[in-house]
Symmetry: C2
Subunit: 252 residues, 2 copies
């Protein structure tokens, strides 16, 4: 019931009191992933001054809601977030999962309103970066401007990979591709690429990959039976990485 209350509340961290939670990108061990910029001390300081951080989001808290005014983009510091849009008949299309060091919310720039919603999959700490400040700052810092262009371009590229995955690949290939993607991103954060806990439910995976829960479950069972994975609910152990890559076939 507390979760349900959190669902309906607008957890807009951009409007939260910021100075209680000052951020230091300087000491953040994610900065290499999040903002790998060649900024000197002074520029980095100017960037840090605009970044806000609120108290952590609890599982199922909304970070922002589809249609809400666009103000900030968000960097995940810890935890995990899903972005999704809801179709006319109430079904949910997950458009991305975001892990520490990754940035989301850029789909709101074009219209001034968020084109999707974002929800914490577990307790998560998030940095909010007010976009108008970022825009002004980036006009003075060519490296920052370029980084933002690259960030958005990467989002486009990744969306196109998902389009291809949904369009051309079978259920098992989709699931294997997602697992490899998560494994790769874990490795980048110096976590295990072969043993990890999925922060999202089977339903979320299905809503991301365009498949039903039942199909996701069956694929996991089959991969386990074939000795590719050991699956214990959300705990995944990749036993045969080569076989998993073969199962992914082409998607990456």
């Amino acid at each position: 019931m507390s979760a349900r209350m959190a669902n309906s509340s607008d957890a807009n961290i951009g409007s939260a009191c910021s100075h209680e939670y000052r951020v230091s990108c300087d000491t953040c061990r994610l900065s290499q992933i999040c903002l790998p910029l060649a900024l000197n001390g002074e520029d980095l300081d100017r960037l840090e001054r605009i970044i806000q951080r609120s108290k952590p989001l609890q599982k199922n808290d909304l970070l922002y809601r589809e249609g809400a005014p666009f103000e900030s983009i968000y960097a995940v510091r810890s935890g995990a977030v899903k972005a999704f849009r809801t179709t006319g008949d109430g079904r949910e299309q997950v458009t991305g999962f975001y892990f520490p060091g990754e940035i989301l919310g850029m789909d709101g720039i074009s219209s001034g309103a968020h084109a999707s919603s974002a929800r914490a999959l577990e307790t998560s700490a998030i940095c909010a970066i007010p976009f108008d400040s970022l825009e002004r700052l980036s006009a003075h810092l060519p490296g920052l401007q370029r980084h933002l262009f690259q960030l958005m371009s990467r989002e486009i590229t990744e969306d196109q990979l998902l389009i291809t995955l949904l369009s051309k690949n079978a259920a098992e290939e989709r699931v294997a591709t997602l697992l490899l993607s998560i494994a790769r991103r874990n490795a980048r954060r110096h976590l295990s690429a072969t043993q990890f806990r999925l922060p999202m439910s089977r339903i979320d995976i299905g809503n991301y990959l365009g498949l039903t829960v039942e199909t996701i479950s069956r694929v996991f069972s089959r991969l386990q039976k074939n000795g590719v994975l050991a699956v214990d609910n959300k705990e995944i152990h990749v036993l045969d990485n080569a076989a998993l890559e073969r199962a992914a076939n082409l998607g990456t």
Copy 2:
């Protein structure tokens, strides 16, 4: 055979001799769609100076190729273009169709190499806009910088709509949604929204919507039988727009 030769030649219009084909955005009737900027005369002039235009692309000519160094983004002046990526086993995923006034090629920014290829669907005139020049210029023109952010954000939003379409909608809904999208974009250019010629083949439509040619053909036949469309090969006449919107169901 001339088409085949054109296919294999790199038609990089960015490197073509530019001063033979000077552009004037000022007099371009597409500028409202392409670059709806509140630029004064001087700023517009600076923008125009960097834009290049080459001789028209013929049908099937490549505009750029996946993996080629990223140098420019491209605005369609006339004709039509498809963007696509080729999967490991040689199948083609069309990621977008681009009509006059629309801009493509932004997926190359993040890695410095084009993440997809682009091919003319018919004889087309294209403006090449060198991205490094555009980047430098946009640091001085906040309106231009903002416009570029919005352009990329819109691409993200549209990719997410396609993701949802592929993931959640049946064949007939996908085809109807594409037709409505084309109709809407025609209307924006003051062309008929109810009668038009598709520049792309059934194969291209299938490769865009994640369906086989046969299915596309069957859907067209069914929509025709039901009095929604009159179809004569690539010539489409929307007889019952309300029914077409009902067929699209949720996708837009």
